[in-house]
């Protein structure tokens, strides 16, 4: 007795490798997604791998402030004579780390609260939904500013926590809506009458069916976290951070570099870096939505 589906010709490869090939093939159908993916890989390498090879420069060279781009300094120099390109290379790590951490915390809170809220129902659900609604109505940036002014984050983790305090509500509502739908599925009903327990039902039956959903929201969360981070840092509310892209803009602002024509590259480079990173994330996420939509996939 044979099953209807015939195994793929490539089923000699191990599953993760096969899945990776499949993923890249699907991605190549949406060129913008492929560009976004390449962009993300590029920035990850730039932020985390490149600094290993390019040591941060310590000395300032007052003779070389605000130099325009040259062979020696591809993007010119800053107000202390430091090479801007070097600054860009060093400056991505913090931004990306905080973004990943923040999005991770937000996603975790949203999934946990959303799925428990939907499966437990009743008063628990009502309270959590009300809480989420309140958080959603708050003007995010302003509240963030107020919180960081008082909470004074002193390291990355606390910064990530501050940023995720307000970011979970939207995703939580969406996760809850999805879980409400999924929990009516026949196989969830079967799991309940087999008495498999709440944790099994949420984490083994329902959430695995939302994998793509979660990944997409995680990446979208990163863009939000970057946006919020940059805003706070440029406003000077996060004093502990080292010299990252947003900090460069903060210095540019406080040093009056905006009025100095030669400082153009010093100001423009971090903006370009941030914009290109966000763009890559967005293009990638849009392609992900297409990939994970099974109806578009089978043709």
């Amino acid at each position: 007795m044979t099953a209807i589906a015939v195994p793929r010709t490539r089923d000699t490869l191990p599953r993760p490798v096969e899945a990776a090939f499949e993923f890249l093939r699907l991605l190549s159908r949406r060129p913008s997604g492929l560009i976004g993916f390449i962009g993300i890989v590029f920035f990850l390498l730039l932020a985390f791998v490149a600094p290993v090879f390019v040591p941060p420069q310590e000395q300032s060279n007052v003779n070389e402030i605000y130099q325009t781009p040259s062979l020696q300094h591809f993007l010119g120099t800053d107000n202390s004579g430091r090479d801007v390109l070097n600054l860009i290379v060093q400056g991505g790590k913090e931004i990306l780390s905080v973004a990943i951490l923040t999005s991770g915390i937000t996603t975790l809170i949203a999934i946990t609260l959303g799925s428990f809220s939907a499966t437990l129902g009743g008063r628990v659900d009502a309270v959590l939904v009300a809480l989420a609604d309140i958080v959603l109505t708050l003007p995010t940036l302003i509240v963030l500013i107020v919180i960081s002014a008082f909470a004074r984050p002193t390291n990355f983790v606390s910064l990530a926590i501050v940023l995720s305090v307000l970011g979970w509500a939207g995703l939580m509502r969406q996760v809850r809506a999805q879980v409400l739908t999924l929990k009516e599925r026949d196989y969830v009903e079967a799991a309940r009458s087999l008495d498999l327990g709440l944790f099994h039902i949420i984490f083994r039956e329902i959430l695995p069916n939302m994998r793509s959903y979660i990944v997409i929201h995680f990446v979208q969360g990163m863009t939000g976290a970057i946006y919020a981070q940059v805003a706070l840092i440029v406003l000077g509310l996060v004093p502990f951070t080292g010299n990252n892209w947003a900090k460069m803009l903060y210095f540019a602002n406080s040093q009056g570099a905006f009025y100095f024509r030669d400082a153009f590259w010093f100001v423009f480079s971090p903006i370009l870096a941030i914009v290109l990173l966000q763009l890559s994330l967005v293009l990638f996420v849009n392609a992900l939505e297409d990939i994970f939509n099974p109806r578009l996939r089978s043709s």
């Binding site: 007795m1 044979t2 099953a3 209807i4 015939v6 043709s299």
Partner: protein, 344 residues
Amino acid sequence: MTPILSVRDLSIDYRTRRGAVHAVRDVSFDIEKGETVAIIGESGSGKTTLAISLIRLSPRSARIIKGQLLYTNDRETVDLGTLPEDELRQFRWSECAMVFQSALNSFNPVINVWEQFVDTARAHGMKDTKAVHARAEELLELVRLDPKRVLRSYPHELSGGTKQRVLIALSLLLKPQLIILDEPTTALDILTQRSIIDLLGQLKKALGFSMIFISHDLTIAAELADRMITMYAGTVVERASVTDLFYRPRHPYSVGLLRAVPRVSGVIGSLASIPGSPPDLIRLPPGCTYVARCPLAIAACSDREPDLVPVDTPQHDARCIRWKTVAEQVGSAEVAVAEKIATA
């Protein structure tokens, strides 16, 4: 008498990522004026692909790679496979109409039944609203519905049986010569099914059109068909009159199907499922496609796919090299196969 539709060696492939799906292979049959033909098959048999190709509504991924669809009316014979789109549009509905399964997306949910009639009429050249209205009322009465109530209603307000009747009425709008019905009674309740079957029988007698049914349900063939075709893995495995196929089948798949259908009347009989599943339509076995599930399979069956050959009763063909053995097992009495095997 030229048959009104003559399908010759029709083969249709679907383009997919994994390769070409040979959904329909070398299908040939004729349908005469006023005749009712039932095409019976299960999932993967190709019957739906065949049905929608008859009115050329196949998706773009489907291609007719071989064969002809010769349609004849009083004036001329045309090959539907080569007809340009504007002539096809004329052909559809005025010569040949299709009734889809009522439950599945056959209605536009935001317009009422009257607007549906007007849309259909206008799309096929009937512009006079008064004439359309008169015709709509006439047709709805023909299908035993109250025109005033139904024309005002939206699809969600109507029951499954009523919707099916409306679809039948719509199909008769331009007095077609041929009506194709896809699973007309599946998903309907018993009493509603009965009323639709009776209605189709009455309409056919009154209006004289030819009908093609596509179904997995043998019982509708037993009720209404003059001739039957069983399809398996994309091709015709048996073609016969309805009595021949039910009482004197000559292909093991037809026998298998007849033994797999429980009945309410008569003895329960010897019922059994057909073991196994249909083959992959991308990588078909070299010989007979039924070999993996056939109780009579021998080595020679896997050599090449058998031709459709005439058997011992007139106008009866089967695609099996051992049809004579089937004939011995089943005999020729006018008794249901399941009973014959039970009492044998």
